[in-house]
Structure formats: structure tokens, C-alpha cells
Symmetry: C2
DNA sequence: GTGCATTAGATGCCATTGCATGATTTCTTG
DNA sequence: CAAGAAATCATGCAATGGCATCTAATGCAC
């Protein structure tokens, strides 16, 4: 692939990621007391609509296993999820979203959508995917 | 813009950023002892081919002013750049790349290019930009 | 069943980052 | 010129992340 195109694509990814992450951190944090990672985890659980093993979550979020472990720990401390033992494999841990977790996620979702909308609307973003 | 398209674009940005950053960190780190931020700063200076004010750099890299200050401090400790006083504005600091800095950058550049090439070749990436 | 490799998840440690703030210098206003 | 506002860069601090490692549980080979 042409080197110049790669460089341009990389600059686009870097810029978009930086802008979006920064905005998400600010908006989700100020408005809902959630970090992007916390929201992401809640979002994945809501999306699947069932309790998930930590390892399953690990495949879906772009975090190391250790970072995910800590995010879940923070969420549990905030009572937004609970960690339940897995009866079939006692090493495993199920992460269950609590009612309060659902509420917080539902409240934060429009904020996240709005931020991303804003970012990607501003710059045509991904012309190839955008139709 | 369609909500689904935005979500897809955001997933693309997240995934590409994570994969590329991780690979860059590994390859640049192992092969050349540079982090992505360090390389980025060297690259910007080489690109402009002159000494830059810290603030100018700040506009070009996606780092906070404080993070940039520390990256430059690390680069200085590694003797890859020098911090020179700015005579016209004694608050300012010029960042000059050293000969060794140029050498290291030149050595690392192909690695960076190869990593990005690999990432963006693997998945067609940005069809809209990719031709 | 015993022992060894493997897997799941938690944790110690360290590096990097952003925010708030500090110190110094420059600019602006009167 | 004096005083306060603004700009530039450095630094204290806390949060987050990854790597290596630890513990516990499972699976595999014999």
C-alpha cells in the first residue's frame, strides 16, 4: 500500500482517537462519573444482555487482562456490577450488571453517542464506510 | 450521520489504534529503545528540519503540554535532543535534535513504517482514503 | 490418583499521562 | 514605570495501564 496513504490513515486514527477519548473522558466523567473504560465494560455487558466471564470481556475491550480486572473492581466498588462465582469452573468469575449499573449505563449512553456523533460528523471520517 | 455508521467507525478507530500502538510500542521499544511518543517527537523535528519550540511540538503531537515536557526530558537524558534557550523569549525552549537523535530516528523509521504498513494492509483500513 | 503443565483471575511494581499548580518572563493597561 | 494579566515551561500528584508474577483451580499424562 502506498506509504503516503498509510501515513495519512495513521494520522487520522491518531487524531480521531485522541479527540474522541479526550471528549469522552470529559463528558462521561463530568456528567456520569464514568471513565471510558468503565462505560465500555458496562456497554458490552448490556449489549450481550447476560453475565459474562472476565475473559469474554477481555476479548471485546482493548485492555489487558490486568487492566480489565481493575476496571471491574472499580465498577464493583461503585456497585454497578457484581462479581459472581462460576459454578462450573471455580477459577472463573462472572461479571453481572446491577440495576444501578443499567441505570447509569442508560443515562450515559446518549452522552457517548452525542460525543461520537459530534466527532465523526465534524470530519467526514470514514468515507469508505460512511454509506 | 447514521448512528450505526458512527459506532462502526468508532470501533474501527479503537481497534486500529490499539493494535498499532501496541505493535509500535513493542517494535520501537525492543528494536530501538524508543517509545511511540519519543519517536513521534523525533519524527516531527526531523520533518520540520529545524529546532522547534516546545509549544510548536505541542500542536503536532497528541500529548498534553506536561506530557510533552517529560518526553523531551527523557529524550534529552538519552542525548537524542538538546534543550536550548530561546534568546528572543526567555520563557521559551527550543528542542534541537542531536546527530545521535537523527541516527536513531533514521534507524527507527523503517520499523515504524513497516508496522503501520502491516496494520493497514491487513485490513483495508480507510477505503475512502485508500486510493 | 499423583504430578506437571495450563488457565483464570488478582496484585505488586513501574512507566506514562493529564490536571492543577508553580516559577519565570513577557505583555498590557493606565 | 508599576501592577496585574497572560504565556511558557516544569513539577507534584493521582489515575490508569501493561508486564511479570502469584494463587487457585483445572486438565492431562502416566
Amino acid at each position: 500500500m502506498d506509504e503516503h496513504v498509510v501515513a495519512e490513515a495513521w494520522r487520522y486514527v491518531l487524531a480521531t482517537h485522541a479527540k474522541a477519548m479526550c471528549a469522552l473522558e470529559r463528558e462521561l466523567g463530568d456528567r456520569h462519573g464514568l471513565g471510558p473504560s468503565e462505560f465500555e465494560v458496562l456497554d458490552r455487558i448490556v449489549h450481550h444482555d447476560r453475565k459474562l466471564r472476565l475473559q469474554e470481556l477481555c476479548d471485546e475491550v482493548h485492555l489487558s487482562q490486568s487492566a480489565l480486572s481493575r476496571v471491574v473492581a472499580r465498577l464493583e466498588k461503585a456497585a454497578l456490577v457484581s462479581r459472581d462465582a462460576c459454578s462450573s469452573d471455580r477459577r472463573g468469575v462472572f461479571v453481572c450488571i446491577t440495576p444501578e449499573g443499567r441505570t447509569r449505563h442508560a443515562a450515559a449512553l446518549p452522552t457517548q453517542r452525542a460525543v461520537l456523533q459530534e466527532i465523526f460528523a465534524g470530519a467526514p471520517a470514514l468515507p469508505g464506510l460512511a454509506r
